[in-house]
Symmetry: C2
Subunit: 811 residues, 2 copies
């Protein structure tokens, strides 16, 4: 099941949730799956179009503005609304809330790389239509997306009208009651210019500018199709040469963006196929003979307004005749595409339209195929549902949609599927997402690390703002590299983000052996982070101590010697020394690091305090954690969860209660802990962890596997892998949970399969839970592509490309 499919619920919460779940994105742009025609007025919708790394700046007032507290932040910006398409059949406007709907479904297709919504509609005036709207955000052409609106009249000729909107007057979504969303609506994007330009298509659609007539043929377009789409006349159908361009600028960040929109109409031959799921290529070849006569009947127009444009398309459809209105959208911004970003958007649009829709679909499928070649995964948990396999694939596909392909951006906590956490990047990237890409798409990791390198100057400034004389401190949440954390107590104080960034550099180097990248970017990050650890900590009583930081568990804040943080710092310091050795003394000198620095790293790492409770025989989450009273979880009713929405932070901080894995997570990240301690700690922290964070269960799953407990590992994995598909946190409407997606996959490969890589090589330590028939996955490591399968007969691996030696360990 390489897709997710669902009937369409019209319940308001389901609609919002589906908007996020079925969004399409390509790492640069993302479009939420609202209905093109909208919902009735009283149903909320987040009709978002986002560009990764494109932000505005908004004020963030502090209730009491202490020195150094952040008073402005970046926020992701909802770009022009390009989804609007209103279909009317003989004057009756299509709506899923009126008339008769049947056969409705949504589908995200992981092989095609497309999203579609399909239904049959009885308009009430006798018209019956099969409608399929397909969307694609092109992986190959990051500025491009299309909405491919396909209508077939079932029972009689129907006059169809499409009003396709391109509206620049938009705002971000806000919810004053939810701390995780913007609390008031700001006009972040101001329309600067609306323009209607004419595509130069006459001679170029076939043959010109890179497209030979053979290309046309190859891409499934007959020369007649090409001609039709090249007609300039307003009423001659096919491709509308009118391109509406909306150029907008943010209110404060100074970034500008252009959306360009144009349309193609393809009218197919009349057909008896009424189920709406036509086969494109079959259709196409059948269409040629009838195409021209209908195309000539297509009437286009485009009117601009002050803030946008309205494209109208009118035509008559015969029964069984598939009519496709393809809305082409290009997005370019001033950050990536320079001063001529508006011209770039039109050029991208032209180029894509010239290549044609089938070319776009084919390239997309090819891109996704290459991804799955390296990331194929199956889980047979013994049921017929394939639920886990499907969720794993959904998660991987969504991560592929979410991750930036350049250093201007990163992976937002909600990907490009919503405005939750305002589009900010967190440690999620390094600890939950890079570990997945590193073994499937390592080239993406390079971009993600390059983002941290590009923002190293801001991290240095942030360290100075926090009073550190040396080193860099990465912001807890950011888009442009500057701190956006309004509540520093569980934000800026979470210094472990530094640990995550340095850890990611180390992992990248281990998995790729890419010394050059370490020289170019990685080492500088790692060394600056090591310097920061030296400044934030100090020696006392023979130990190196780190005070007043917040670990991963956000229900315990500003503590001394958080085990996870200190363990990671120790690891970072060791790797800093290693990295200096790898890049050599000349490069170290260039980066300003001396032997004295390295000595400092070694000494601090050796003396690092890692709190341990002799009585309990477990690691203490921090110096004071174990002396606090336990929160009475047994007496806490379900409606009081998640705790953060029902208890004052002080109440939580005062008790032993964890939002998420903290000490337990350190066992995975830093390893080399005796099983006996790990086992006691696991049991202890498991008892007091609510998993109110979506980043928690996957880590418990991995460590359960490290302890050989396959059942528990599988239980955690099963609970968490479908978090968004099941909306089990109730907030998928604000965007999908990318870290959980990565974490779920990690629970399979690092957890159950026990995959590890070190300088010495790679190993597996597989477990197969009771009742599971098996699982398999692929991964890349250096030059090799390997497929691992674990089943009742044991663990097998097959090197598909390159060569690899894998050690298989057992419990």
């Amino acid at each position: 099941m390489n897709y997710v499919q669902a009937p369409i619920s019209l319940a308001p919460q389901d609609l919002l949730c589906a908007e996020a779940l079925f969004s399409v994105a390509n790492g640069y742009i993302g479009l939420r799956a609202a209905f093109e025609e909208g919902y009735p007025e009283d149903i909320p919708s987040v009709r978002g179009l986002y560009a990764n790394g494109f932000y505005d700046i908004v004020d963030m007032k502090q209730a009491e503005p202490l020195h150094g507290l952040i008073d402005k932040k970046q926020t992701i910006v909802n770009l022009a609304d390009v989804q609007g398409i209103e279909l009317s059949a003989e004057g009756r406007r299509f709506s899923m809330f009126e008339g008769g709907i049947s056969g409705d479904r949504r589908e995200l297709d992981f092989d095609a790389g497309t999203y579609s919504r399909s239904m049959s509609w009885e308009a009430g005036n006798g018209c019956e239509l099969d409608i399929t709207v397909k969307r694609l955000a092109s992986f190959n052409h990051p500025s491009m997306m299309v909405i491919d609106y396909q209508v077939t009249a079932r029972n009689r000729p129907v006059a169809l009208s499409f009003i396709s909107r391109h509206e620049g007057d938009v705002r971000n979504y806000c919810d004053p009651d939810d701390p995780r969303l913007a609390s008031h609506s700001v006009q972040n994007l101001l329309v600067e210019e609306v323009k209607k330009v004419t595509r130069l298509v006459s001679s170029r659609d076939c043959g010109g500018s890179g497209l030979s007539s053979r290309d046309c043929a190859g891409s499934g377009l007959s020369s007649r199709d090409c001609a039709a789409s090249g007609l300039n006349s307003r009423d001659s159908g096919g491709s509308d040469p009118a391109v509406s361009c909306v150029t907008s600028r943010t209110s404060r960040s100074g970034l500008a963006v252009c959306t360009a929109v144009s349309h193609t109409v393809i009218v197919a031959e009349q057909s008896e196929d009424r189920n709406g799921s036509e086969n494109k290529s079959d259709n196409k070849s059948e269409n040629k003979s009838e195409n021209k006569s209908h195309a000539e009947a297509v009437v286009h127009s485009c009117e601009t307004t002050v803030t946008g444009a309205i494209h109208s398309i009118n035509l008559n459809a015969l029964p069984g005749q598939a009519v496709r209105v393809i809305k082409w959208v290009a997005v370019c911004d001033s950050q990536r595409h320079g001063a001529d970003f508006a011209a770039a958007a039109v050029a991208e649009l032209n180029q894509a339209m010239e290549a044609g829709i089938d070319r776009l679909y084919a390239e997309q499928a090819e891109y996704v195929k290459r991804f799955w070649d390296h990331a194929a995964v199956t889980v047979d948990d013994g049921s017929d549902s394939q639920r886990i396999s499907q969720a794993m694939r959904y998660n991987l596909f969504t991560l592929l949609q979410s991750a930036s392909r350049d250093s201007y951006a990163n992976v937002a906590a909600k990907g490009l599927s919503g405005e939750g956490y305002e589009g900010h990047y967190f440690w999620d990237t390094e600890m939950y997402i890079q570990p997945v890409f590193l073994l499937t798409q390592p080239e993406l990791c390079k971009n993600l690390i390059a983002f941290r390198y590009r923002t190293l100057a801001q991290a240095r400034d942030n360290a100075r703002a926090l009073g550190h004389r040396q080193g860099a401190l990465y912001p807890w949440r950011t888009i442009n590299g500057e701190e956006c954390s309004g509540y520093y107590v569980s934000g800026t104080a979470a210094y472990h983000i530094n640990g995550a960034v340095a850890h990611a550099v180390e992992q990248h180097w281990l998995a790729t052996g890419d010394d050059d990248f370490l020289v170019a970017m990685g080492a500088e990050i790692v060394l600056e982070i090591a310097r920061l650890w030296l400044d934030v900590g100090h020696f006392s009583g023979g130990e190196f101590r780190i005070h007043s930081v917040t670990g991963p568990d956000e229900y315990t804040c500003m503590v001394d010697n958080n085990y996870y943080t200190n363990a990671l710092a120790k690891k970072n310091l060791h790797f800093a020394v290693r990295a200096a050795a790898i890049i050599g003394s000349e490069h170290s000198r260039r980066l300003g690091f001396t032997a004295a620095d390295l000595d400092g790293f070694i000494t601090a790492a050796a003396a690092m305090r890692l709190p341990y409770d002799e009585g309990l025989g477990i690691h203490a989450q921090d110096d004071s954690f174990l002396s606090k009273p336990r929160f009475d979880l047994a007496a806490t009713p379900p409606e009081k969860h998640p705790l953060l929405l029902h208890y004052h932070p002080l109440t939580l901080y005062r008790h032993q209660v964890c939002k998420q894995a903290d000490t337990v997570m350190a066992y995975f990240v830093c390893s080399m802990i005796p099983d006996s301690i790990m086992k006691r700690s696991f049991a202890y922290y498991e008892d007091i962890t609510t998993h109110d964070s979506s980043l928690s269960r996957c880590m418990f799953s991995i460590v359960a596997a490290m302890l050989g407990d396959a059942e528990k590992a599988a239980a955690y994995l099963t609970e968490t892998v479908g978090l968004d598909l099941n909306d089990s946190h109730g907030n998928t409407k604000d965007g999908i949970h990318t870290a959980n997606m990565g974490g779920s996959y990690m629970a399979l490969i690092y957890g159950l399969a026990g995959l590890r890589f070190t300088e010495a090589g790679i190993s597996l330590r597989p477990l197969l839970p009771e009742g599971w028939q098996g699982y398999s996955f692929r991964f890349r490591y250096r030059s090799a592509l390997t497929e691992v399968s674990v089943d009742r007969s044991g663990c097998h691996y097959r090197v598909l490309e390159g060569s690899a030696d894998i050690v298989i360990l057992s419990y």
Copy 2:
């Protein structure tokens, strides 16, 4: 020197500072000492009129709105501007910034209970005037204040015009750059009605309604004065019957207030006295003969506007002839004066005007005399300056001005002299101000405790909001009893306010022996606070521990087992048990307290953790404090102080650095610590304390004295006693520092003199610093009034009223 006097600086910062320093107040209303005629437009002014406990509600946006964080707060409200009086001499408007000014001074007179501003002015058009403007906020009639504007033409007859304004369109002051002030301007007060009413003065001014003609004579008013002030005709001078009433309502709190304003004119006989400091009673008797003719030449008018009123008074003054325009202001609000508060304001105004200005001055002087009878203080530090004596008296007088006389209000951190800290009440009252009043004006303490009793329900709600199942938690900052702390980390988390409130009840009972008050109010407060301590703490390892609270030192937050907090909690628990015994079982039952409760208190108190460091031999400020690195104060330049304005809170929290006395303060409050430990602790904490809080030095002074170090005690006292008079914190403009004022006096009587009272009685342990000649003070204890003097010959005391046994201890 029972006054403060200063030449008038026109530097903008000095003007703002003087507005606060020379404000007049009576515990209910307070008026800042702006110039009646205003400043040039580019000079900022806070022309505040405030009523204690009169507040509006404003939003306080949290950067990240976590559950339970406060999102609205109360704020003190600037009431109608009643200070405006523009004097013109033959068309030339008086301004201290134009023409020639000489002999200028301001004076706050602690005997008269008045403020005055005096100067001679050469108008530039040949007119020369001596001007004295005297203000009084009546202690006897809390709704009343007057501005007594006296002008004498020096050299020739002058046509004088007075434009006296009463303006309801006002706003609070704001400064977006200062965390201690409101950051944006809100219209808190909206004018509901402006009315002109006529005073019924004809027959009553002399003889009617309580004023016999003998009263008139007694108060210095001749019967002709009375007649003159009773004339109804608009142009007959004397008293203007027109009263302007401005009724306003707050934007959100629903409180309403009425200001009523009217005028009297008294024209004296021509005089040769040109120095402007005329003797009132002499003047008066001389005036009679000439009075009528001039009075008849006085022309009054009163015009109302949409938001206020303008009173005009025109008259001709002969050379040497003192002309007084007395502006009478009455303030009544809906909270204290009920639905008819506007009528009450007019009635108060009438009554006061009928009694006459001299009566008001006489009553005021009498009230203040009675105060000094119980609070007389002298300090002879060996210099001629009397600087310390004067500052002590200024501080005491200002506290007398600041303290509420009823349970609707308390003592704001800035008194009624500014809008700093938005008029909020803190622990300052209980720990720094009540200890002073308890020995001078114990009846005021009752009101202040009654305020806490009146707001006990809100404190219970606050405890529930913080997750406590029992007890009450007083808000860190409040006006109406609800928490206003936007930054809970050093606000709501400062649970030691609870300790302060219970401690104040205990001290009141000790000093007064008032069991009835304990039954009526005190015990319930104390028992509810004890219950809270039981809920916030828990038993662990044989100790009773209190986690995640903030002690007095705001540079160290959310710690475990803050020594001060725990010591105070222990003391509270002991007193709760004692209080239950005092009020008896029947009242205990009424309050819902059982023997089990009391057992719990005893057990927790006995097991209370009081962190002690064996190695250093000192008490640790909290569990982790001593393991942090020290902040490098030696390397911190002066311009980086106060640290809170230059360092991120995390930087401060991470280091050993104290804003103020914390552990050291506990030694004073809870006492009974071996000198050796106290001495080491004092030295240790002294080294790392910046005294960035104005509440710090006084406590170091007291504990230095406890250690027998008279020089250090005197040095701290000397440094801190004139904090406002010297503007040594640079922010007196926002209001005077009431806690520091109380603390400075405490440093004398509890510190140098070593005054203590217990159930056993009172004791002194006096010290006389080198070079000091002596000091003396009076205090009340139960039925006794005692005067203590310490000089080179020793310590003497004299019981002036009642009887007292005082033990004098020595070092």
